[in-house]
């Protein structure tokens, strides 16, 4: 129980690494930086593994999630936010994914970033990110979770803007932070509402309070406490997990170094939104509306991002939109109540998307920094390990069995289809869109593979010396590839001869819900089988189209783009959403602030009034001064005026009736 009792060790190790590298790293040789950073993360991973082991023991004995308060962080009135850490099955999944994938990416980075300036800085940020991410997943209350939540945002900001000399990079970092802040705005209000209602933000106490409060489930259209709170929390999740309408930062975030994209913008941080929704599932389950909104937003984002991904030419941008799309998938799962499936997809996605990004990084590395797929092609023979691992990742994400993506996606689609007992038209629609998205995913991912690795070589060999990456980079690829292959089997359902360990494992957190109650076991199996087949067909269709368009008829895509110029341009320009935001929110706000608030309200109106009063006083002073004409005759008149004044004042009670004024 040592680690569990000192659970803070897990997040603290990366923080230590960050601190050492951050304060002294500038003087360290790269090797020392490596040692510090890797050992911090590695030890953290080991500690996490040990912690998980201890937790499982603990759980076996008590049947309770583990939670421990370490110190009071914020205390005011009856509000308390402690530095309390919590370990339950959901945490276990997250902690292992974060530390595990994180560690791999650290290894990868030593190779990838080896020749970059600011090496220590990079690892400082990366370790810092690990710290905050671990806080996020280990937190036992919303406030501490929020610490990690904002902290990873900060790390993301720093890492996106790592190449701060590039304006686009610093722009992207800033955008990421600010858009996240918009989400956080909702998240904070959500917390406040929860606190106001339940007087606590501690997960354990809060969920107990919810259960014991006996507050009714809120049906569709009822905007009760749960609905509002959940929607507010979901706003935060939208920001962090890049859902419509706050997804805009994620594609830009590709300005960061590729390992960052892999770690933060694919595997871990962006899934925090999903994690929060899953964590708050008890609340969401109290509100029909919130769930519907989550699923619709998720589904819409999935499709929307996938369509954009179809035409992107930057290899990382494709992956970025893919990530957005897959995150939509996860929300779709949560929205239809299949939280387990969502978390499962979160995990598998972490494997294969990290793999894809790292592989893409390897490609970019090989191409000497080139990211545009139009200038690649035919790389498969030259960088074999990268090619094969990336292909595995692609197959996984495309949803071909028996790789990880298939199982998780299948679970989600099944969940959607059977939502509302399987008779819900809404669920069917969601399913349909999900399926379409799956096909699109398969298409753009294979498009990526074909454009990059197959076909004609479209780069100049004299300028680009394609070379395979060092093993420090390839090892993580291989490991992740393996995980992408086998990861899915953890939750392989009965249909595939598995026992769905994953769902069972998460059962203490998400009580197993008979998704398709009312259906007989056999009918359920049949349905599952049918849906699986349909999914495979969809994926295959995507693959086929991609194969046909990019390998068989390489001229065709341009032709199609030409004939559908409007659509193509819209997609290529990401539906002009950035421009829309710019035109409707950002520029008007800046204009308003500068030209109205500052220059008119502040300078003219308020300060103008203040100075106007001063000038008025000065003008009055000049008037008074003018009476001082220097002419004694005028002065005599003034004395007479004064005399009249005084006499009139003293005789006022008698003058008033004389002047016809009567006292009322």
């Amino acid at each position: 129980m040592f680690i569990l009792d000192h659970l803070w060790i897990v997040p603290l190790l990366p923080l230590l690494g960050a601190a050492i590298n951050g304060l002294f790293g500038v003087k360290f040789p790269n090797k020392v930086v490596n040692t510090v950073a890797l050992s911090a993360t590695g030890l953290s991973f080991l500690a996490a593994v040990e912690g998980v082991r201890e937790f499982l023991d603990y759980f076996a004995q008590t049947g309770q999630p583990f939670q421990k308060a370490f110190f009071d962080w914020i205390v005011a009135g009856n509000f308390r936010a402690g530095f309390d850490l919590r370990m339950d099955q959901l945490t276990v999944v997250m902690v292992l994914v974060v530390t595990g994938v994180g560690f791999l990416i650290h290894i990868y980075s030593t190779g990838y970033m080896g020749h970059e300036g600011g090496y220590y800085r990079f690892f400082t940020y990366l370790n810092l990110f690990m710290f905050f991410m671990l806080i996020l997943v280990l937190a036992a209350n919303y406030v501490l979770l929020f610490v990690g939540w904002e902290g990873v945002g900060l790390a993301s900001y720093l890492l996106i803007g790592f190449y701060f000399l590039r304006k686009s990079a610093s722009d992207a970092g800033k955008k990421a932070f600010i858009v996240n802040r918009i989400g956080d705005f909702g998240f904070m209000l959500g917390m406040f509402l929860l606190f106001r209602t339940f007087k606590t933000l501690d997960f354990g106490q809060l969920f107990e309070a919810v259960k014991s409060s006996g507050m009714p489930h809120e049906a569709w259209g009822v905007f009760g406490t749960f609905t509002i709170a959940c929607l507010l929390l979901f706003t935060g999740a939208c920001g962090k997990s890049a859902q419509i309408p706050l997804y805009v930062w994620l594609p830009d975030a590709m300005e960061g170094p590729t390992p960052v994209s892999a770690l933060i913008h694919a595997a871990t941080m962006v899934t925090a939104g999903v994690y929060v929704v899953a964590r708050s599932h008890l609340l969401f389950e109290h509100s029909e509306t919130a769930l519907v909104v989550v699923s619709v937003v998720g589904c819409a984002t999935a499709l929307f991002a996938a369509t954009i991904g179809l035409v992107q030419t930057d290899i990382k941008k494709v992956l970025a939109y893919s990530t957005v799309s897959q995150l939509g998938y996860m929300f779709l799962a949560c929205g239809v109540g299949a939280f387990g499936a969502g978390v499962f997809h979160l995990m598998t996605h972490a494997f294969f998307k990290a793999l894809l990004f790292l592989a893409a990084g390897s490609v970019i590395h090989a191409m000497g920094g080139e990211q545009d797929m139009r200038h690649m092609g035919g790389l498969s023979g030259k960088i074999k390990v990268t090619y094969w691992t990336m292909l595995i990742g692609t197959i996984a994400i495309a949803g071909f069995p028996p790789l990880a993506g298939f199982f998780s996606k299948d679970a989600i689609l099944f969940g959607a289809f059977t939502a509302g007992g399987g008779h819900d038209t809404g669920g069917r629609v969601l399913y349909g869109i999900g399926l379409l998205t799956a096909a699109l995913t398969s298409f753009y991912m294979f498009r990526l593979i074909f454009l990059t690795f197959h076909g004609k070589q479209r780069y100049d060999e004299h300028h680009v010396h394609v070379h395979e990456s060092p093993w420090s980079m390839l090892t993580p690829l291989v490991i992740l590839a393996v995980l992408s292959v086998v990861g899915g089997w953890a939750a392989a359902p009965a249909l595939w001869g598995g026992e769905d360990h994953f769902t069972a494992f998460l059962a203490p957190v998400f009580p197993v819900r008979e998704a398709a109650e009312g259906l007989a076991e056999a009918a359920k199996l049949t349905l599952e089988r049918t849906l699986a087949v349909v999914a495979i067909v969809a994926a295959a269709a995507g693959l086929g189209v991609a194969f046909w368009l990019y390998l068989k008829q390489p001229g065709k895509p341009a032709q199609i783009a030409k004939s559908l110029r409007g659509i193509y341009n819209t997609l290529y320009n990401k539906y002009y959403v950035d421009e829309l935001y710019g035109a409707t929110v950002i520029r008007p706000l800046l204009w308003l602030s500068e030209n109205v608030l500052w220059k008119i309200v502040d300078v003219e109106a308020i300060d103008g009034t203040v100075n106007g009063v001063a000038h008025g006083a000065a003008a009055l002073g000049q008037t008074v001064r003018q009476t001082q004409s220097g002419n004694a005759r005028s002065y005599a008149v003034w004395v007479v005026v004064g005399a009249l004044t005084v006499i009139v004042i003293l005789f006022w009670p008698m003058l008033r009736p004389a002047l016809g004024m009567v006292t009322p």
Binding site: D72, I74, A76, F79, L165, E594, D607, V610
Partner: protein, 517 residues
């Protein structure tokens, strides 16, 4: 009659330093600086001894001294600290040596006068925070004006005289009314003693008619609101900040503004609870406007220092909002935000001052890409900016969060509006940071700027440690300020006799005015 000389000594200690400075060698600048640093550092050390004097859970005022000073009208030398004033005093005594250090090289002209003014300012500010006699309070309140005006007016930048005069006139306009209010109160109660007046008002010995109470409230409130500054009384602030030397800005933002919010909490609420209730919606509206407005105007400032100045308007809006939420949580948050803002905005002003020392301009367009020549300064700047924008685990978050939470509990709309400030603060700070530090170095001169010197690093590291500590160990402070916040809250409750017995802290406070008063 209590005679505990600790607080008068603490208040007057810098004045002794001033006398020493005046009497001792006047031409040796190094000596003067060391002397000023020593005095302010000792003052800080002395003030640390206050900490154990206000233990967790202690109620009322500690280290009280109460001796008659003027017999008619009865004015007493009445001082005391509680949780609220304790940390504001500490903040003052902490920021003063920092300011001395920050002025080490940048002040080369009339060095002695500068440090004399700075130390006198400390006397005034500490005095304000420990005074429990309204007259004494007013006295220190006014005393601190002149050194501050001198700091701005002599060692400031181009429009320093305009700014200094504006600062004084604005403040005097408010304080003159406050004096009338104080006297009115004296007329009603026959006392200048805060504790005594409070007792009489609460016991119903003296009853103020609603109109009287409201007028009195306004007399005090306007003076405080100008100091805070609350929108729309804020326009002195940007000018004063931009023109002031670094040390002046640090003290101004760090401590002087807090005098306003301190006053609201110490005087407006306990003395005029009904009027406070009635005014709360309006005050909160102004505070919220201030939060958003300050942030939006900060967003478009081409002048870095002005940007930080407007950010103060925004941040102080949170404090006022917290106070007028009338919840323990909100008030605790307000107190915390006062201290946190002092540190983080102080740090920002220090950093801006360091940039100014190097380039003699505040124009953002004159900078850009500074992270390359001066990575350390850039790092510290980011740290301070993050604390200012309320990143959790740094000091700014705690106050802001508690204020919003406390406000939300009673008026969710207020909190929702105010929370937009959280978004906007990220916008203006990060944008400014980007424009100053990121990108290629565009101005040739900037390429060779030196990074933070050892002195600067010491200052910044100290500030950073405090920022971090306050972000993590906030309960150390909140435990000690709790009783003060509860007391302020209770006064509001006690007066609300018609309402149901007060629920525990942080709960909804009914705002209906009781009918039988």
């Amino acid at each position: 009659m209590n005679v505990n000389l600790a607080l008068p000594m603490l208040t007057l200690f810098p004045a002794f330093g001033v006398i020493a400075l005046l009497v001792l060698r006047g031409d040796d600048h190094v000596f003067i600086r060391r002397m000023a640093l020593a005095v302010s550092a000792i003052e800080f050390a002395l003030s640390l001894f206050l900490l154990p004097q206000v233990p967790v859970g202690s109620t009322g005022y500690r280290l009280e001294i109460n001796v008659p000073w003027i017999t008619s009208p009865p004015i007493h030398l009445h001082m005391g600290v509680d949780g609220l004033s304790l940390f504001l005093v500490l903040l003052t005594t902490f920021l003063t040596p920092i300011s001395v250090l920050a002025s080490w090289n940048s002040i080369q002209h009339r060095v002695k006068d500068f440090f004399v003014a700075l130390l006198m300012l400390e006397v005034g500010v500490v005095g304000v925070f420990v005074s429990l006699d309204l007259f004494l309070f007013f006295l220190f309140w006014e005393i601190m004006l002149i050194p501050m005006a001198l700091l701005i007016g002599i060692w400031g930048h181009e429009r320093r005289i305009y700014a200094a005069v504006k600062f004084v006139l604005y403040t005097m306009a408010g304080s003159a009314l406050m004096l009338v209010g104080i006297l009115w109160l004296y007329n009603a109660t026959g006392s200048f003693d805060l504790v005594e007046i409070q007792r009489q008002l609460q016991a119903g010995i003296v009853e103020l008619s609603p109109r009287t109470e409201m007028l009195l409230f306004l007399a005090f409130f306007v003076a405080f609101a100008i100091k805070v500054p609350l929108f729309p009384l804020h326009t002195w602030l940007p000018d004063a900040h931009v023109e002031a030397p670094t040390a002046g800005s640090v003290i101004l933002a760090g401590v002087l503004l807090k005098m306003g919010t301190y006053g609201m909490m110490r005087f407006c609420l306990p003395l005029f609870p009904h009027a406070s209730y009635k005014a709360a919606p309006y005050v909160a509206t102004l505070a919220i406007i201030g939060i958003i407005y300050g942030a939006l105007v900060a967003l478009v400032q081409p002048n870095l220092k002005k940007l930080v100045a407007y950010s103060s308007v925004s941040h102080l809006g949170f404090v006022v909002l917290g106070i007028f939420s009338f919840t323990v949580v909100g008030m605790q948050g307000a107190i915390y935000q006062m201290i946190a803002h002092g540190i983080s905005t102080g740090a920002l002003f220090l950093l801006v001052g360091m940039l100014y020392d190097r380039r003699h301009t505040f124009e953002i367009s004159q900078y850009g890409g500074l992270a390359t020549p001066m990575p350390r300064l850039a790092a510290f700047f980011l740290f301070a900016a993050l604390s200012s924008l309320g990143l959790p685990m740094l000091n700014g978050f705690v106050g802001e969060y508690l204020v919003l939470l406390g406000t939300y509990i009673v008026h969710w709309q207020w909190a929702a509006w105010a929370a937009t400030g959280v978004i906007l603060s990220a916008c203006y700070l990060l944008w400014a940071y980007q424009r100053v530090f990121f990108g290629e170095v565009t101005v040739e001169k900037n390429k060779t700027l030196p990074d933070a010197s050892e002195r600067e690093r010491f200052i910044l590291a100290t500030m950073s440690i405090v920022i971090l500590w306050m972000g993590i160990g906030s309960s150390y402070i909140t435990h000690r300020t709790e009783k003060a916040a509860e007391a302020a809250h209770e006064h509001m409750q006690q007066w609300d006799v018609g309402a149901a017995p007060a629920p525990a802290n942080g709960n909804v406070v009914t705002l209906e005015r009781s009918s039988n008063r």
